[in-house]
């Protein structure tokens, strides 16, 4: 026998070792610390190569920038490494379940990305002559037709850039309609459980915002609403299903009462995922509703944006829709109605809300998604979304308090409160404990109407196995919070960062890198 010449003698006993010691790099194996580009880059490094610019007589009018700008550069390889390392410090849908209520964090199909990047879409200038962009206008038109059909509404405004922007669009249309009637009104009614953008948008439009109370069953109090309606109320903003995850059973009655009082119904469409393909908001009397393409229609969240918030409109509000509008003529050609022809076709439009035409990159993605699912698939989306949420509700309502759990099923999201947690333990502790278990926390402290609210929306793209594992993890963390496990107070223990000092960040805002570090500045 020849004895082992390399000297490498594997033995499992050796793997016990004496215990971990801190590393000199601060790295922990695959979890790598990464400095700022300002700390590793320099003004003379670059990751691009340009030909030299030919010498010309400058036409910059003496405004040449002489001072250093302070922008570091890195080689391509260092750039790739920098951002790859940063990316690994993020949780993402591609990694795991995101139980965020009202966010609809569903899988973002990669076909969408491929389609959006086709040069015929991506490399297109918005102001090119209409003859050169017929395919792009066709996409906007086709998506608009799908959204109108799915919602049962007469018209659609495609240009709003996000949900809040869509809310603004809807309220501006309502305001214009009332002005056209010579009936400017001053008040908008908003449930206390509404997303913050609702009252913020109404206040911006010059309305006084008043709360609509909820019943003990977590829904809009119809009687209270009817009592409050009057000639000073311009609109009611309703989310349906609402932010407690419940369908507003009285929606049609609410809409009828609102219309009888001469006002309009704005519906926040953030929760459309629960009813798409099964219920049409138009049948419920809605006058305007924004649709978050980055929620129901799978366009990616991208770490906070971009979104897209087209708004479907009723017959009554259609004339006031913003510019531009995409139209198809009898010959099948597409037109873009901008300011110049608005006088003829859209004389009552309230105007333009944004430069150019809207979030084309999100339109191509959403259309690819809609075509992939089709009418049958979209209906299944709502059904699976609702089933998954109810499965979560019933798998957890013995360990966590579900304030509306006993009155019936939820829709696409399940709501729990902090009732029953040990003294001194809160929803925040459960959230941070869940991080260690490998999950992004659920939506916390929203809606405001439930104490210590925990709102969980799994979406339809989670498998049963994924739900079961999430349930197991949350059961464990909830049990620890009810038993008063002190270790939970220090969570998260295993994330790239422990709990961060948000008080310091707000007291001494440091919003830009400077040579001096925060620690030095604090001295």
């Amino acid at each position: 026998m020849t004895v082992n010449q390399s000297g490498w003698r594997p033995e499992m006993n050796a793997a016990q070792g004496a215990g971990a010691s801190p590393t000199v790099t601060g790295n922990r194996a695959l979890m790598l610390e990464e400095p700022l580009i300002f700390e590793i880059g320099s003004a003379d490094r670059t990751g691009v190569d340009f030909a030299d610019a030919p010498a010309v007589t400058s036409r910059l009018g003496g405004l040449e920038r002489s001072e250093a700008i302070g922008l570091p550069g890195l080689s391509e390889q260092e750039t790739v490494r920098h951002y790859t390392r940063l990316s690994r410090q993020n949780y993402a849908i591609d990694l795991g379940l995101f139980p965020l209520g009202s966010c609809t964090m569903k899988h973002n199909p990669r076909l969408n990305e491929k389609v959006a990047r086709m040069p015929g879409f991506a490399d297109l200038h918005p102001m090119a002559p209409v003859s050169a962009i017929q395919g792009a206008l066709a996409v906007i038109h086709e998506l608009g037709e799908w959204l109108k059909t799915l919602t049962g509404m007469a018209a659609i405004a495609m240009s709003p850039k996000a949900g809040a922007h869509g809310e603004l669009c809807g309220l501006l249309a309502i305001r214009s309609a009332l002005e056209a009637r010579g009936d400017a009104r001053k008040v908008v009614l908003v449930p206390e459980s509404a997303h913050g953008t609702n009252p913020a948008t109404a206040a911006f439009c010059g309305y006084k915002v008043e709360d609509i109370p909820a019943t003990p069953e977590g829904r809009v109090d119809l009687a209270a609403l009817e009592a409050r309606l009057g000639s000073d109320v311009a609109a009611v903003m309703i989310t349906n299903p609402n932010t407690c995850g419940l369908f507003e059973r009285d929606m049609k009655k609410i809409a009828d009462a609102v219309h009888a009082a001469g006002a309009f119904v704005y519906c926040d469409g953030a929760n459309f995922n629960a009813i798409v393909g099964r219920v049409r908001p138009g049948d419920l009397g809605v006058d305007a509703m924004h649709i978050n393409l980055h929620k129901t229609f799978s366009t990616p969240h991208g770490g906070g944006g971009p979104g897209s918030g087209p708004v479907v409109l009723s017959e009554a509000l259609a004339p006031f829709a913003p510019l531009p509008v995409v139209e198809k003529d009898a010959q099948g050609a597409f037109h873009l109605v901008e300011e110049e022809t608005a006088d003829v076709h859209h004389a009552s439009s309230f105007g333009r809300m944004v430069a150019f035409h809207g979030q084309m990159g999100m339109f191509t993605r959403a259309l690819a998604y809609i075509l992939s699912h089709g009418a049958d698939g979209l209906r299944q989306v709502a059904e699976d979304a609702v089933l998954n949420a109810n499965y979560i509700l019933r798998s957890l309502d013995d360990v966590l308090d579900a304030p509306f759990g006993s009155s019936g099923p939820c829709m696409h999201e399940a709501l729990f409160s902090d009732d029953g947690l040990a003294e001194g333990f809160s929803t925040l502790d459960i959230a941070k404990g869940l991080i260690d278990e490998g999950y992004h926390p659920m939506t916390m402290y929203f809606p405001l109407v439930v104490h210590g609210a925990m709102l969980i929306e799994p979406t339809e793209t989670e498998s049963k196995a994924a739900l079961d594992q999430f349930i197991m993890a949350l059961r464990s963390v909830a049990a620890r919070a009810k038993a008063g496990d002190e270790a939970l107070k220090g969570a998260p223990w295993f994330a790239p960062r422990r709990r961060l000092d948000e008080t310091l960040a707000a007291r001494k805002p440091k919003l830009s890198w400077a040579e001096e570090s925060l620690a030095e500045a604090a001295e």
């Binding site: 920038r65 700008i69 940063l86 850039k161 913050g196 105007g351 035409h357 089933l387 019933r394 960062r497």
Partner: protein, 452 residues
């Protein structure tokens, strides 16, 4: 169906668990008359990836992609070469499919990137601070006007005539629900921006003066003069920049004392995308930071003393302040901000300056070649990578004719200011590092034919 992981067996098991006989039991709260009995009629059923791709590719083919033809369109959206790494990095799932960084412990990737982005924007603009992005330049412009009104408590808004007309329209639309008085104008067709005309419109009721730099005709206004005039009357100077590459060659707005600087960041990293998603940039002086709309990322430390980043000064925003928020904005343009930041990092200061000089040099060459054509006159004294030609024919007709000949000649003033006869000969031509000498020759030849 490929995006629905539940099997029929799963559904049965889960329905049992929740005590429902069928899925319809879970929709019991929806009144029967509101529920559709079956799937919506008139819409097709699900389709394979291949079928969807084919359908979308057919629509894409009906468009004239900028890279396929001589291309000279600008007017607020510019075509630049984006390095290959940018798109690969933004498609990493941990960036693409991440959420807003409200749970900072597991979002340091997004947060550190935003901190770097904010710093890059602030330095590019010459501002003290910048936010974590807005929807686009036009809505950022409106937000700047609203912010100036909040700070000065005045109602008058003076818009330069050479501000992008879409931006001016957005300001007018939004202002309808306020009591602001918006005073705009048409661009003066002079070789230099009409500073005298602009400053004459500023008075003691003006909250802000909004100036675009470079302007819609590509000219470079003297911001020092405007800043002085505005500040003398107690008004703020808002500068709008729709081509950030220009700031690699010309002085930053902050150097002139601009109070708020907003812009469109699309040029860097984002691409043309037929108008969206784009990237709103927003910077201002330190003393105004609490009046700034949008998300802000700040530095802090964690429980072990390690440096980290969090969203901060959140009490300005809608999810806390509700009716009293500085803006209703929630979503930003995060992934586009990432693309911008990566591209900027790859460029670095030297790269940005080189890129800017390439743009300017190519534009100077193009202006020289085109203005020697009979029937063509160059308007601008100064420009960066965009200038205005005055044609002896209707420029809009010219762009349509040339498009039919596969040349995208520029944006006509007739398209930007429909019905304004005095502007109808104006053609705004953008030239970048992606514009070749052959492209310029093709445009020249095309114009020569059409103007003959």
């Amino acid at each position: 169906m490929r995006y629905l992981p539940l099997t029929d067996a799963d559904r049965r098991t889960m329905l049992d668990k929740v005590g429902a006989a069928s899925i319809d039991d879970l929709f019991v709260d929806v009144p029967a008359e509101a529920q559709l009995a079956g799937q919506i009629e008139g819409l097709p059923n699900h389709a394979s990836e291949m079928a969807v791709e084919r359908h979308m590719a057919a629509l894409a083919r009906q468009n004239m992609a900028a890279g396929d033809v001589p291309f000279f369109l600008g007017a607020g959206a510019y075509r630049h070469h984006v390095p290959a790494s940018v798109d690969h990095l933004i498609q990493r799932g941990e960036f693409l499919t991440a959420y807003t960084p409200y749970q900072p412990e597991i979002a340091q990737g997004t947060l550190q990137m935003l901190f770097e982005f904010q710093t890059q924007v602030a330095r590019l603009f010459g501002c003290d601070v910048a936010n974590a992005s807005m929807y686009d330049g036009s809505t950022a412009c409106w937000e700047a006007v609203a912010m100036a009104a909040r700070i000065t408590k005045r109602k008058g808004v003076v818009l330069s005539g050479a501000l992008h007309p879409h931006y001016a329209q957005v300001v007018r639309t939004m202002a309808k629900v306020t009591d602001y008085r918006i005073a705009g104008a048409l661009p003066a067709m002079q070789p230099a921006p009409d500073n005298a005309g602009l400053t004459a419109r500023i008075d003691g009721e003006t909250s802000c003066v909004v100036v675009q730099y470079p302007d819609i005709l590509g000219r470079l206004p003297d911001l020092a003069e405007i800043a002085e005039a505005a500040h003398a009357k107690g008004a703020l100077l808002v500068v709008v920049n729709t081509e950030p590459v220009a700031l690699g060659a010309i002085k930053a707005p902050g150097e002139f004392g601009a109070d708020i600087v907003v812009g469109e960041g699309q040029s860097i990293g984002v691409g043309l995308q037929f108008g969206g998603p784009y990237l709103g940039l927003f910077g201002c002086k330190q003393k105004y930071v609490r009046q700034m709309p949008g998300r802000l990322c700040g530095e802090t430390v964690d429980a072990e003393g390690k440096r980290g980043f969090v969203l901060t000064l959140s009490t300005r925003e809608q999810h806390i302040r509700r009716e009293k928020a500085t803006s209703n904005i929630c979503t930003n343009s995060g992934l586009c901000a990432l693309a911008f930041s990566i591209h900027m990092t790859l460029l670095g200061e030297k790269g940005l300056r080189d890129l800017a000089m390439l743009n300017h040099a190519q534009a100077v060459k193009a202006a020289e070649k085109l203005s020697t054509l009979p029937g063509v006159r160059l308007l601008n004294d100064s420009f960066f990578n965009e200038f205005t030609l005055i044609l002896e024919k209707d420029a809009r007709d010219v762009t349509r004719t040339l498009a039919d000949r596969n040349i995208l000649a520029g944006v006509s003033l007739g398209r930007l200011y429909p019905g304004e006869g005095t502007l109808s000969g104006g053609l705004v031509v953008a030239v970048t590092e992606t514009t070749s000498d052959e492209d310029i020759d093709a445009l020249r030849a095309g114009l020569k034919e059409v103007l003959a």
